[in-house]
Symmetry: C2
Subunit: 339 residues, 2 copies
Amino acid sequence: MKKDSKPPSIDDVARLAGVSISTVSRVVNRNVPVSAEIVTRVESAMRELNYVPRQAARNLATRRTHTIGVLLSDMLGDFFQPLLTGIETVARASGFEILISLTGVVRPQDQRLRPFGLHNTDGLLIFAGSLTPAGIEQAHASGLPLVLIHQSPPTGLDVPCVTVENKAASRKIVEHLIVTHQRRRIVLLRGPADNEDAHWREMGYREALAAHNLELDPRLMGVGDFEREVARATIEKMLASDTSFDAVFTGDDEAAVGVMLALEARGVKVPEEISVVGFDDQRLAEILHPPLTTVRAPTEQVGQEAARQLIKLIRTGSADPLTLLPTELVFRRSCGCRV
Amino acid sequence: MKKDSKPPSIDDVARLAGVSISTVSRVVNRNVPVSAEIVTRVESAMRELNYVPRQAARNLATRRTHTIGVLLSDMLGDFFQPLLTGIETVARASGFEILISLTGVVRPQDQRLRPFGLHNTDGLLIFAGSLTPAGIEQAHASGLPLVLIHQSPPTGLDVPCVTVENKAASRKIVEHLIVTHQRRRIVLLRGPADNEDAHWREMGYREALAAHNLELDPRLMGVGDFEREVARATIEKMLASDTSFDAVFTGDDEAAVGVMLALEARGVKVPEEISVVGFDDQRLAEILHPPLTTVRAPTEQVGQEAARQLIKLIRTGSADPLTLLPTELVFRRSCGCRV
DNA sequence: AACGCTTCTGAAAGCGCTTTCAGAATACAC
DNA sequence: GTGTATTCTGAAAGCGCTTTCAGAAGCGTT
């Protein structure tokens, strides 16, 4: 249609409207009063040329990008969507774009933070496991605003962190098995070794047992790694051994799937013979057979809160050191309730 | 630690290394030979200052951002992760970042494509339903490279499109119900009205019936909208009416969940009494009870291919008009196989 | 009629990098 | 030794916008 050689720049608009580029800039940004008549002239010029300001130029001039980077490990599973949706909602409302980078499982080398060229964004949201402590320190040292998600900062660094309450809820759900369902031999499937959620969930489990004078039996603690197949294998092994148990706290919902599959394959009835409870309340929790009793982690809110904190940090230079979002037990049938 | 006033710029590096900024730039970009000795001098200067090139400045200078925008409607459900993973993998391998914008359900107004300021990215990946045809035309008119995902371009526009094969697979899966399981009264749950996948899946259904001389009974066609609850309500209504049926092609897996729930609530046995088949092979398909027979849509590949096409379009100015990824039937138990 | 305000507007100096162009330096051939 | 290629390197001109600074206008006072 048009000459189409180069997209129009602010100069073209200024020329067409018969004003200076400063004035065009002011009309675009509405930060300084411009007389009504000129505003309409400039606006119609912009429309006529189909002018769109070049972001790169504004970024350079303002030294702000209005973009926040999100570093994710690519194995978030069902977390992905709610987390991102939460982040995006808040970011957009505050005029920020979001730049995403999946780091995969973090390999300690090549943590050079290449993806974002650091000054490519105004700040970074770092999900647990997507950056090594060294990487975090490096980013922090360069003055980039940072907020960690589901992971606390390396000792000594004051980087804000947003996560969910794990321990109390884990304790409560295990106590529910003990008190309401009279379970005594409760298996714990541990999450990944370096995962903080996993750590606190295990603490909750231990507290619950201790509070009811149940002995901590190492044979009842297996690996789950928050993974379906790992959990399945562990439970199969336990079933094959002579270790008896009457309940499983799977560590997370994904692992719960593996547990249910293993149990189903052996013809073990859930919850009659064995109660199963998970953590996260992922979408799949309610369609499991039987529907899974679990702990609801408000992942979308985590995303929102993380974005909110980061933006606050960017704007004011400080944010809340720790945001701990409440979790909530969701009783379905796998524990024995509502049968 | 540092004086921390301003981050170091290329000038600082040049000064410290005793060379011109042109040379520093060349060392950074390795696109022009620089003597080995100077390279080391510059590199150690960069290291010492902890220098990171400011992206905004390079973007402005090169008129490229090396960023591709991804427009997503926020109701992608389980598509979200594999799609994004696919896009990211390819983008990263080619040196592109990805900027994400969730548009939610598209509201025809405010399609001003605000989020990306157009020239903020080198090109856009547009998922079905995230932009109105008018929005697409506008973006296209401004010369932005575009690739559509799961949606063909507005008539007349030559915008490349990446999607999956819907019709043949739908026909095949329905024929499977007819031929292998002797089903005759097969319900179709339609997807959203303006959804192309839904359209082609319905065509496949019609073809299958026609090929086997089965009459197309309007009473067997209901709304599913690719939504669990909508599908559930439709099936409940059908069960309550006197319309009998012996199978359901749910349109997609999400709707299949609703169908299974409705059937289960009424005590109807799947697949003995009614066969159920879905489409997509989302993660939940295999944990449904019974596991869902469905069509596998290679969503991660769609993401990869879309990114690949867009990058090709950005680099060479042209891309394949249509990329149709093959789908594949996955037989599980809900149709009646492997019982 | 002169003065001081208040409001707008334009000129120009960056923001930090890439890239063209030309010159310096070195190498090589004769 | 001179001439000509061949490499490297630096100066300088942008890239397109924001923002400071100062000047121009308009307007009410005295």
